[in-house]
């Protein structure tokens, strides 16, 4: 197997994450699910190097501690669960911040705005957007980095159905282009559309594999305390990707 894009072994954050080990390859589209407080955001932040954590993290086989700040910005993009902006930068400027690690070379900013359907809001102060629009700004900023590893923490929770589907298609397209895309979600139906699903429960990785192999009735009952027939019955209602 080629060098994994993201490797973690025995990754722990006291009280929040316990000994998570995983390898994510290039071209993989990965869903991360789990109940509230299971550690999804913590794992994503730890993988992105944004949280002090015990254990080993490697990006493309290189220990994270050996990668300088700017180089990290070129290799991995993170979209947080919260998208609050305190200062009234125009949308275009916020997205252009994705180019910081590239010496503020502006290429790809307009395309990133278009990808999340924000072109028409480019000049609007970011403080005057709705919650869902702000999340799309954060996504566009991550896209503008053109980083091959993209970690998105609940990117669609606040989006309307059309934009949510577009974001899912975008994730698929990035993975098909060789990127490693991790998306945390609450919608188990959507998780069936991913190549691979990670299930977290109380800080542990309790499931890892293709969706139909992992999201079994037993696991769903165990982790989410929901009868799985509910989930299965909804799967066919998904619109085509």
């Amino acid at each position: 197997m080629s060098t994994p894009a993201l490797h973690a072994s025995n990754l722990s954050v006291p009280g929040r994450l316990e000994a998570v080990t995983l390898d994510l390859g290039p071209g993989e589209l990965v869903a991360m699910v789990g109940p509230n407080g299971a550690g999804k955001s913590t794992l994503i932040q730890a993988l992105a190097g944004l949280l002090p954590a015990h254990g080993t993290i490697q990006w493309n086989g290189q220990p994270l501690s050996h990668i300088a700040a700017a180089e990290r910005g070129r290799r991995l993009a993170w979209v947080g669960q919260e998208a609050h902006f305190e200062f009234a930068f125009p949308v275009r400027e916020v997205v252009a911040q994705g180019r910081y690690a590239w010496g503020d070379d502006p290429s790809g900013v307009a395309e990133a705005l278009a990808e999340v359907d924000l072109g028409f809001l480019a000049d609007r102060p970011v403080t005057r957007l709705s919650g869902g629009e702000r999340h799309r700004v954060a996504l566009a900023r991550a896209l503008a980095t053109q980083a091959p590893i993209q970690l998105w923490d609940e990117p669609v929770a606040q989006l309307d159905v059309r934009h949510a589907l577009e974001v899912m298609r975008l994730a698929r397209r990035l993975a098909d282009g060789g990127g490693t895309v991790v998306v945390s979600l609450h919608d188990l139906r959507a998780a069936y559309r991913f190549d691979r699903v990670l299930v977290l429960d109380r800080g542990r990785l309790v499931g890892d594999g293709p969706p139909h192999g992992v999201l079994t009735a037993d696991l769903i009952r165990e982790v989410f305390r929901v009868e799985a027939t509910f989930v299965e019955s909804l799967v066919p209602e998904l619109p085509g990707a």
């Binding site: 190097g49 700040a69 902006f85 200062f87 009234a88 930068f89 911040q97 910081y100 954060a138």
Partner: protein
Amino acid sequence: MKPRLAVPILVALLALAFLASLAFGELRLSFGQVVSALMGGGDDIARTVVRDFRLPRALVGMAAGAALGASGVVMQAFFRNPLASPGLLGVSSGGALGAVAVLALAPATGFAAATLWALPAASVVGAFGATGAVLMLAQRGAGTERLLLSGVALNALLGAGTSFLLTTTAGHFEVNAQILFWLMGGLESRSWEHVWMGVPAILVGCLLLLPLGRAMDLLSLGEQSAQSLGVDVRRLRRQLIVLSTVLTALATAVGGIIGFVGLVVPHMLRLAFGPDHRRLLPYSMLGGAAFLLACDLVTRTFPIGLRLGVVTALVGGPFFLWLLRRPR
């Protein structure tokens, strides 16, 4: 407003305030007399007034205003809060307490009278002591919120110390008057010594801040996002705290506690020209310098005992309230 108008407008305002500072006062001079006095011509009295009294006062005022304007921008980006100000971490309170402590001991020791440098030096020591304490208190994790709350606690503590010293020296009118200078700020009797103490270091601090503007843009929208986009956030935060502290400490050392400049000036300029820190930093330096000189002119024009810190607060307070009432 168009950003390219900013520099001409601010430079013009600053030049006007600067010339007015040199021309106005008990001896009213024309701009022509001011210019010829600066060049070494004109009559002796005008030359002495301009070069030995008003010029150092104006230079100290500009430097202190620039330092406070820049420091305000830094604190607002650092705390991601447009209402943060240079004194937030206790730097100015510490500076004032340092100077006041020396003054309170002065009747016994005669120390403060002995050297011109004693008070500014004590003020710088107090300011750095305060910042050191905040950084130590907040070191574990050094979360922004924790730092902010530590600053609140420290400000209260240092203010209490100053009030205590003020009451213990109540009998000494001379000392009390001097203490009030530190608490309400002022530029009177600033000499060339004060210029050398404050201005070059403030200039260096401002120049060191300017290249950090772009990274501050990213920091101002979130620490984690800035880190993920390639900013070395830990290092940037350290640089910002040190530079902002030094600038505030120096401004306090030469001018006492001058409130609201660091809050109002960056805020007005952000509203007018946008939040881009590469521009906001130099604009706030120019704007802070012009604003402080203008406020100093007011204290001189109406000699009814107005202190500089009182004037900046009289202008700044209502503005602050207006900001709070504005829909965000």
